[in-house]
Symmetry: D4
């Protein structure tokens, strides 16, 4: 069985790549997916449909186009990893976690210890809290290979 894993959240460090590489090195039967992670591309996803004077509508159009990809991939995934970094609000990551929770879709979180209190509701529905990409890889490896 091939597992589909969705990687949600922070786009300013290379955590995604570390997880992907870690799983490749172990030859795990995994396919990863995520939202568009190019910040500018994501913000301007709707621009070609016409300019907007109000930033609210510009954001609205782009966010909806991005959601075509996000929702489909979350609904098809077997496991989601939700990453919270040190900076920014990252409400979209928490939104994805809530979305997974309501669907009964398993997810694990990846964040530092200093934000556990702010993330307690998100962690309460998670199946694991990890602090490093290596730990995520270990969980994936164990889930797939029993080792």
């Amino acid at each position: 069985m091939q597992w589909n894993i969705y990687l949600s959240g922070e786009i300013h460090t290379d955590w995604r790549q570390q997880i992907v590489t870690g799983c490749e090195n172990l030859n795990l039967p995994v396919v990863f997916s995520s939202a568009v992670t190019n910040h500018d591309a994501s913000d301007s996803a709707g621009d070609f449909l016409g300019e907007e004077e109000k930033s609210f509508w510009r954001d609205h159009k782009s966010a909806k186009i991005n959601s075509i990809r996000i929702r489909t991939l979350i609904e098809k995934c077997d496991l989601a990893v939700i990453r919270f970094g040190d900076k920014y609000k990252q409400w979209n990551a928490a939104f994805d976690a809530g979305y997974c929770a309501a669907l009964g879709k398993p997810y694990i979180t990846l964040h530092d210890e200093n934000i556990i209190h702010a993330l307690k509701e998100v962690d309460a529905s998670a199946l694991a809290w990890t602090q490093t990409p290596e730990e995520v890889v270990k969980i994936i490896q164990y889930t797939m290979t029993q080792k």
Copy 2:
């Protein structure tokens, strides 16, 4: 028909009370609910089940007990209002929004203009973005009374 409205998010200003009072003044057939909004009570919800040395588990126990209330009330509501204030991470509010989105539960957001970009995914699934409790009351009034 009586409408059930869930009020999610920020607990440091009186926005909930303003909405409740606004609707009472209009005699709208609404019942409001929300999570436990007493910050200390919420944080210590699980303490009576035994002390924890690690703050992660203390938070975990409390967050899960709080979720009994939150999930049930969200699933029973006809509309949710998700409020984001100026401070704090408020990931639980974004989590609730994602939870509503996955259930197909209608929600509207209440937040200032300066955070619209950070909230674009949350707003993209909302049925309205409001900036004041008065606007929320107007939407409720209109939905219930056609005026």
Copy 3:
């Protein structure tokens, strides 16, 4: 048992009132609901949230606010009546019919014979096609009273 019936579609004739009055005269245990049927109120439902230069966004805001009411009432109804008049596109009525069909929610249509071909997909999922409000009342009466 009280039945909830949602009346969707055309707002330029008094078909809703005829059905309501017909059922009242028979003392049927029915509660009717519908979208906001005041055309101007419906079109301007979102105006108080700020002006829009583009009519697309003005419509968008109003349509979403209206959908809070529409979706909730459709999901709570036991039967929907979908009315198509002679004029206008009335795509919202067909949209409501498709929404009911996907939910497995029973609906009947009310329209003249001259548009049966254009409505064949909508009628194919309906449980009855009626041509007058009296016929709708008869179906409601029969369903509720066995007579």
Copy 4:
């Protein structure tokens, strides 16, 4: 991942072919589907089951046979494109949009600016409004390739 895209609506212009060709030129991993788009074949789909004197029943039989294909393909698709042309009622397109909305199936619309008011409910649940097949192709390309 291969994406399944359902193309619903108007059958009198070559918008489907433009989208298909546009995606082929980009080598996108997409499979398109749609209802039977041959107007006469669609209208006469049930004729071989016996003649009908009443056009209502002729339409009824054909529409139901067509729905075997339509419902299955919509339920299997990852994205639907709903096209409204200048002419005809096209209630089946709005019906498909409502069907998608109730299933939580992402859809985008394709129509000219002059009908945005009549389509406001349909657009309110869409993830994008496009005006040309090229724009549709761009959204598909972006969703699939992040570019």
Copy 5:
């Protein structure tokens, strides 16, 4: 708690009345419902919508109108009793049983021993097979009162 019980099937003996009376005598908190049980009324339910030359369409119209009542009541019931008599095909009763099974709705059957083989699939999904209305009443009494 009030229990809703749907009584499906044979309409030529007074089994429904025996169950209703039996439960009334015990003051059980039960509300019973069923399809329209007047054979002629049921067969002619759609006649007022216009005559049909083909009996198939006459039956079709009536059966669909009857299904408004049947489906709603089955979906609202807590328990269904499916009765098969000695005569007739009673395919509608088996259809209701399959409908309940797919919804996960509990049902019990009521029929004589001589047809157990023909009903083995229907009984395999039932929570009990009874042979007399008295036995049905006992199950209802036990379920409601623990005695």
Copy 6:
């Protein structure tokens, strides 16, 4: 796309084979499935688990084992064909039809004209009524090939 079609009902004539052969001759991308159609094998499916003195329990065990196959195949199919012959009660066929109806699974019926009245509820939820295997093949061909 490959279509999965479930063939339910009568096992005393070769209607299944006629449909399979008809579709093979047309090279249609169809996979057919059905319950175990060997009457004796089906009736004795549970015998190896121990003898039963009561025929009710013998039937019960076999029917449940058969249902592993039936339910899984119905839930995976894209279309079901429900066949009613001239003889026997065939309650299992009607049960399968009700099961499909509750799941929103498209089905068509195959039976002679002389039993349309008894099957009116089953036909009312079907997407077509056919009288010969050739008609079934035509519907499958049309659904798959648009011709």
Copy 7:
């Protein structure tokens, strides 16, 4: 809002009564329910439908009749309390917990510390682990009254 709470599991001590009394003393808006807790009545629930020589079928009949009550009450509850005592296998309690988990129904467990390892899967899906009826009452009180 009135809360429905289902009490599942051990029937040899008075834990149910302690919870009920504790909540009554606090005037909490709760309605409790449970399976039939009279051991003999539960075991003999199906006896009136005819004697069985094999104890498997006697148990089978009784367990199915009991499940009418159990499933309905679990599906209607807002919270379940699952109690494991010191003795017996109590597989039905673990079965109820799994049933709740799959439905997304919140549940808490009530058991001594010495069996936490054996119950780790059951506790992993619970929203709290309690050791005394008083703790259960406190959670109910807090969930209902915010205190």
Copy 8:
């Protein structure tokens, strides 16, 4: 069609291997899966995420990580086999059975005759009770090959 079968429960005898070998010998198109069956690996699944002083939290972390695998595989399976051995509480097996029952996922049980009374609720929702791996293989063979 390839069938996915989940093997749940006891890990101290070779029943899984007997079933797998039995099906291999018959060349059945089956893919088997199960939880991590190495007792120590399963118990220590969460240890690499940091030590816990309380055994409850150690178990909690491991059980949740194990549930990523278990839930996904149960939800993807077509049939589950739930095995209860002579020793231990095996509440996780009963939990899996309840989980399957709520999802409408077919399952069969495998256990000796001496525990049928304790397992009556678990067996009441099962599609078969077997006593040996050979019997399980026969059911799988019959379901897949009709023989």
